[in-house]
Amino acid sequence: MQVVRLSMPLFFIVLSVAYALLILQLPQATLGDPLAPIYFPLAICIGLFLFAIIDLIQVMKEKGEKDTEDLQLLVQKSTLITIGVIILLCLAYTLLFDYAGFLLSTVVFLVVLLFYLNGLKKWRMNVLVTGIVSFSTWFIFSHLLEISLPGFGG
């Protein structure tokens, strides 16, 4: 559990180091103070690094403390699998969206997600929700609000 707790401060430490490296590669400004675009990010980088280190120390000190209910639920295998599947489906939706367009990719995404979450027994509800949500959002956004959503083939 401590690994999960440490993940966030470590992530922010890595982020601040990567950020520092990127700041060093920033080109100088040709107008005014050549280093002007660097000052603000640099101050942020130092702040992020320092507070992430303090946070890391605090989290390390908490070792042995009772885990919160949320943390216990997160590290359960079933929760991790559900979240993992949802994220994978979201990524698949992202890849499909450009090629298949909004309507087809949303139908596929929703139907797979609903069947995964509700099972085969509730097939009527899954199909109905997929149909209603996909077509009504398509109609509302594309026709009523005139917001262009990609059609078939991107």
Partner: protein
């Protein structure tokens, strides 16, 4: 003050199309608020794309009605199933749910709705008299003052992350770091764009907001349900109307908590959660029936409801007059306003008085409509609670993706959305406050530009802090807000209590 402008605003608010958006937003907001896990910020964030094809007045009416509709709705789920929709509805569980257990759910909901109505109305009057002077005062602000104001806002939000200030700072700096992505407006230097043209305008903060609030919320709700969180809809509603005795006991708390909530709402960072909790503890201190609190005391329900509602109106003042979002929801709204071409700031009141006063009048009408919705449609609203989570959350996911897509018409934003969702989930589980990250992300760009402009004017960075009496005052307020938790700790230590006033 020109009352004719206010009257014109009333007529504009009463136009049929605006009324349709108002009722639609109030109903939608109530439903969003009732559904456990979906708060006003998520509600507004997910529904932002709806406002893109609208005129600015209707868009603002829709967003604000969703906002206070969700606040009303949030307390419904607090009262009925002991599950607050968001932080500002927590206090409604203390006495609202015990009232439900006593078979007084209907009475609890109707009196809470009346408390929200009166809290909202008091705050609207506060808005009418305070917003213009504040906007005129804001005209004195130059780059140094704005920079200091942003600094103070961020420090206040971090300082109010009680018990997790370090994590608040980490979140704030992370938000500021994201805000630096994109082309630097003063020098034209591309910063952290990785050669991706989509990032030259920076990372759209609404994508991050939708990711953290909506996707993060969906993932969080995929956790197995905790004990005591299972919706129970078998509670008897009882009478839908409160008694004369209950109303008599409520009047004092409603009229004390309304102004309290309003002033806390105006302060950056305070927001609905703190004002409702403070109103609750204040009423408990003042009450002759202290022992009834927590067991279904009507005062314990109406005080936070009145404060919460008026804080929501109060928090719109710094957002509209100075472009300073004081809470997560107003941050989301500010982002949406900018997207639809409204620039909040002191000149908004001079350049678009119709917009501002239509909004104020719509808030007044909206509060009345919400009371009707929440009292007459109690039975129907309770059915909303029965929406299976496994149906609701996939729909929220699709709306989030549409929202992200319509902002930049690129699926690159989908990846950012997914990453933000995962970060939002981890931040929630590991107790990192989200508000500092969101606020920093939104004000970061402006903060940097003002800092650089001010350092050119005053020729040294440290001179910014003492550029004017306003800047110096804000500098000391920043120091005070950051040292406030330490002072409080010291004070408690000297008193030897070790704990705060119990709720």
């Amino acid at each position: 003050m020109e009352w004719s402008i206010i009257i014109d605003g009333l007529f504009t608010a009463l136009e049929p199309m605006n009324m349709v958006w108002l009722i639609f937003g109030a109903l939608l907001g109530t439903i969003v608020g009732i559904l456990p896990g979906l708060g006003p910020a998520t509600g507004v964030a997910v529904l932002i794309p709806l406002t893109f094809g609208m005129n600015p007045v209707s868009a603002l009416i829709l967003m604000s009605s969703i906002y206070y509709g969700a606040l009303f709705g949030g307390s419904r789920s607090s009262i009925l199933i002991n599950t607050p929709g968001d932080g500002s509805s927590i206090a409604a569980t203390f006495d609202g749910y015990p009232m439900t257990l006593k078979g007084q759910a209907g009475q609890a909901m109707s009196i809470a709705a009346m408390a929200s109505l009166f809290g909202g109305i008091m705050a609207i009057f506060g808005f009418i008299f305070l917003a213009i002077p504040l906007a005129q005062f804001a005209l004195n602000f130059g780059p140094a003052e704005y920079f200091m104001l942003f600094l103070f806002t961020l420090s206040a939000v971090v300082a109010l992350s009680t018990g997790k200030m370090i994590k608040g700072f980490v979140a704030m700096f992370a938000g500021l770091a994201i805000s630096t992505v994109g082309i630097d407006l003063q020098s034209g230097v591309h910063r952290f764009t990785f050669g991706v043209p989509h990032f030259t305008d920076g990372i759209n903060f609404i994508v991050i907001i939708i990711g953290i609030y909506a996707l993060g919320e969906v993932l969080y709700n995929m956790f197995p349900k905790k004990k005591g969180q299972q919706p129970k809809n078998d509670q008897a509603i009882g009478s839908k109307w409160f008694t004369k005795e209950q109303w008599k006991r409520s009047l004092g708390p409603i009229f004390r908590s309304g102004p309290l909530g309003f002033f806390l709402g105006v302060l950056p960072g305070s927001g609905g959660t703190i004002s409702s909790l403070l109103a609750y503890s204040t009423e408990k201190q003042l009450s002759k029936r202290k022992d009834e609190f927590g067991k279904g005391a009507v005062e314990g329900l109406v005080a936070p409801e009145s404060a919460n509602s008026s804080a929501a109106v109060g928090s719109l003042i710094p957002m509209l007059t100075m472009g300073i979002p004081g809470s997560g929801t107003t941050a989301v709204m500010l982002g949406a306003l900018v997207m639809i071409g409204i620039t909040p700031g002191p000149l908004l009141f001079e350049n678009s008085p119709d917009l501002v006063w239509t909004l104020i009048n719509s808030m007044f009408i909206g509060n009345l409509i919400l009371v009707i919705i929440n009292i007459l449609m109690v039975g129907m609203l309770i059915k909303v609670l029965r929406t299976p989570a496994n149906v609701l959350y996939p729909i929220v996911l699709v709306l989030s993706f549409i929202g992200a897509y319509t902002l930049g018409y690129s699926t690159i934003d989908f990846y950012l959305l997914i990453i933000a969702g995962l970060i939002g989930l981890l931040m929630r589980v590991l107790d990192y406050p989200v508000a500092p990250l969101i606020l920093a992300l939104i004000v970061g760009g402006e903060m940097e530009q003002n800092m650089r402009r001010a350092s050119i004017i005053y020729e040294s960075p440290q001179a910014i802090f003492f550029a004017s009496p306003i800047a110096t005052t804000l500098f000391f307020l920043t120091l005070l807000s950051l040292s406030y938790p330490l002072i409080l700790k010291l004070f408690k230590w000297r008193k030897g209590t070790g704990t705060g006033a119990s709720m």
